[in-house]
Structure formats: structure tokens, C-alpha cells
Symmetry: C2
Subunit: 230 residues, 2 copies
């Protein structure tokens, strides 16, 4: 691995030169009031590693990111957002793109009506929290008139991982789907075990560093574009 | 300020030597399922600065902290927790203490029944999220048979800051209450404007660094104990 990385630094890779790639990463944060929010445990590590890997191959990378604590990879343009709706707006503004890699863990729901002031604890008991569905960023990009040639989705699952992922790929209309089982503390970890689903079926990848998952995916994306332009 | 800090480093302060002080800091995180959670925007900065300041004065500091991204101050024993119930358990296990400084932003509510697996998005629309009240850590410490001699609460408010804070002090039974207005982006910021409420009334402090707020509070705590032991 170290040898590979030294070689990759010494031998600049231009396989994605001239390609604009949109990457989403991190969680979204959905306010309930000015103090409280609904979110999820995405650390952004896998998405940031992918953005870094694509940029190393010469791609022009727009990284639309929820709040995370990791630095922006060199050569990547980051657009910071909080909510799913902000993320969708930023993604649509970033089009056209040759590819979109949707690694963010977008909140499926948000509070129907966030309170303008801090919700007070009262004797009446907890407030009832009415949720509404957030826009589906992956599906929206897939159905866009400016759909990128390649759209890659991610599915973090805890149960029936492959079945859920296969169904998600079909439902969303994305080209590839990267599925992972998040039961075993993947959030914030440096390693990941994923399966890649495309039109030909399921490919299970061995457990590896998130950076390595990113390299392998970036390589596959470069191959896709090498094929499509030849 | 710089001169003060240099002097404080050069002249070791032992005014809280032999005192065990419990500090809580950061948000709590309340799971909805293995992926999603309810939390708040507390960065932990003010609580960590207080823990650091007390330790610099020789106190034996137990810092019970929700998930934050700031390092543990030198000489401070940190106990990391996620939920309000874990925080309460850790606080009770840390007793006896001479003082408790409750700077954490404890979630008032949690999901009644967190799901064991990731909640799926269905055609039926968003799940209904039933909340229940969390234990009140500040009030519980105040009513404990092992109540610390000095209990300090915090109130982050967006409306009627002083009225809410005065009512909170009376309701919880704490000795001092530090109130701040969190409308203007205090979360994660380095500066803070607080009021200190005690039995004699309200004292407004000017805007200053959170580290300075911490120093001033630690000094007041040292004065309290100097008075009580003489």
C-alpha cells in the first residue's frame, strides 16, 4: 500500500483530466429549533477520500459537504451545507458534471416546521415532532435533464444489506451503487467493507482502508470514461 | 490578556487544590436508530475551558463530556458519554464532588423506543417520532443526598434570556446559573456574553473569550471555597 501511494505520488495520473465530478459527503443537519437538530453519524471520511482520489487523477472536483471535521483535500472545491435542501440546491448549481458520486448521508426527513425560538420544556411533556420527507438528491440527479453520464449512489444499511441495495439502485435509477453494512462501527472508522452493484450484478470488495476504497472506485470511474470516450 | 496569561502560567495557582470538581460539557446524542440521532449545537468549548481553568488552579477535575472535537485539557480526567442517561450515570459515579459545573447541553428529550435497525423510508411517509423526557441532570445533582456544596447550572436561551434563567435557577435548585443568549452564533464560537445569577441577583459580564469567562468563573469558585473553609 505504501509503495503504491509513493508510486502514485511520483507518477501523476491524468486519467480524469477535464472531467467535472460532483461528490457529496457527510451528514445533513436538520434543525428542530435554533439549538436542536436531527442528524446522523456519517463522518464524511469515505466521501472526502473519494474526492481526494478523483482530484489526484486530475478531475475537477466539486465537493458538496455537510458539517464534518476533516480538512478539504488539495485541489477540491468544497461547498459547505447544512440541510438536505441546501445540499440539493448546491448539487443542482454544480451541474453540469460528468459524474456524480453521492456519498453523503442525507437525512430522509426534517421537522415540518422548525421552531424560531428554543422549544421550552413544559409540564405538558415532550413536543410532538412532525416530520416531512426531504428531497431525494440521488433520485433527483438521476432524473435530471442534465443527468451526469455516471451517477453513483451509496447505501448504508444495517439489515438485508444487498437486497436493500439492489432495490435502492433500481428505485433511484443510478448506475452504480456502493453498499455497506454500518452495523459494525463504520461511521468515523478508517476501514470499510463495501459491495459495488452495477448492471452486471454485485461485486463484493474485501475490507480495506476508506482511502483504498476511494482509489479503487476512482480507478473504475476513470475506466468508465476511458471506455465512453474511445 | 496575554500578560495575564503569562503571569498565570509563571505563578502556579493552588487556590482549588484538594477540591474535586465535576464539569459536564458538550451535547448529548440521543439515537433514533443505529444511524440517526437527535442532538444540539453545543461545541463543548465553554465547558472545556472551565475544566482547564479549574485544573490550572489545582482542582481535581472530572469532565463528563458528550461527543466533541476538542482535546482534553491537561490534568483533566474525561469520561466520554453519548446520551443524557449515560451522562447522569457518569456524574453520579463521579460523586462526591465539592462542586458541579453543569455546562453540557443535555437533550431534554429522547426517542421513546430507538429502532434496532435503520428505519426505512417507506411510501407511508415519515415515521412518527415519539419522544420522552430525559432525566434532568442539574436538578438531580441539586437534590442528591450527596449534593456538591456548589452547583452551577447553565442556560442557553433564545428568548427572554434573563427571565428564563431566573426561573430555571429557582426550579432546578442550583446555586449559580450562567445564562447566555445563543441567538447570535455562540455555538462553536470562541467568544461569549453571559450573565451570572446567584442569590443576590443578576450580574452581566461583558463579551469576552470563552477562556476568559472560564477564568472568571473559576476565580469566583475559588473565592467561594476560600470563604467556606475559613
Amino acid at each position: 500500500v505504501i509503495r503504491d501511494r509513493i508510486l502514485s505520488v511520483l507518477t501523476p495520473d491524468h486519467s480524469l483530466q477535464g472531467r467535472h465530478i460532483l461528490v457529496t459527503a457527510g451528514p445533513t443537519v436538520e434543525p428542530l429549533d435554533p439549538v436542536r437538530f436531527l442528524s446522523n453519524h456519517s463522518s464524511g471520511r469515505q466521501g472526502y477520500a473519494i474526492a481526494a482520489s478523483l482530484a489526484q487523477r486530475g478531475a475537477d472536483v466539486t465537493l458538496v459537504s455537510g458539517p464534518v471535521t476533516i480538512p478539504v483535500p488539495p485541489g477540491v472545491r468544497r461547498i459547505a451545507v447544512q440541510t438536505a435542501r441546501e445540499m440539493l440546491t448546491a448539487c443542482e448549481a454544480a451541474l453540469p458534471a460528468d459524474a456524480a458520486i453521492c456519498a453523503a448521508a442525507v437525512s430522509d426527513w426534517r421537522a415540518k416546521q422548525p421552531a424560531a425560538g428554543k422549544i421550552k420544556k413544559t409540564a405538558d411533556g415532550p413536543p410532538s415532532l412532525e416530520l416531512v420527507e426531504n428531497p431525494d438528491i440521488l433520485a433527483t440527479l438521476c432524473r435530471s435533464t442534465r443527468r451526469p453520464s455516471l451517477v453513483v449512489g451509496f447505501a448504508a444499511e444495517t439489515d438485508d444489506v444487498l437486497d436493500n441495495a439492489l432495490a435502492k439502485r433500481a428505485r433511484k435509477g443510478c448506475d452504480w451503487l456502493v453498499a455497506n453494512d454500518v452495523r459494525q462501527g463504520v461511521f468515523g472508522a478508517t476501514r470499510n467493507t463495501v459491495s459495488l452493484i452495477d448492471e452486471s450484478g454485485v461485486q463484493g470488495w474485501p475490507e480495506m482502508d476508506k482511502m483504498h476504497v476511494a482509489d479503487r472506485l476512482a480507478e473504475r470511474i476513470a475506466t468508465f470514461f476511458a471506455g465512453s470516450s474511445s
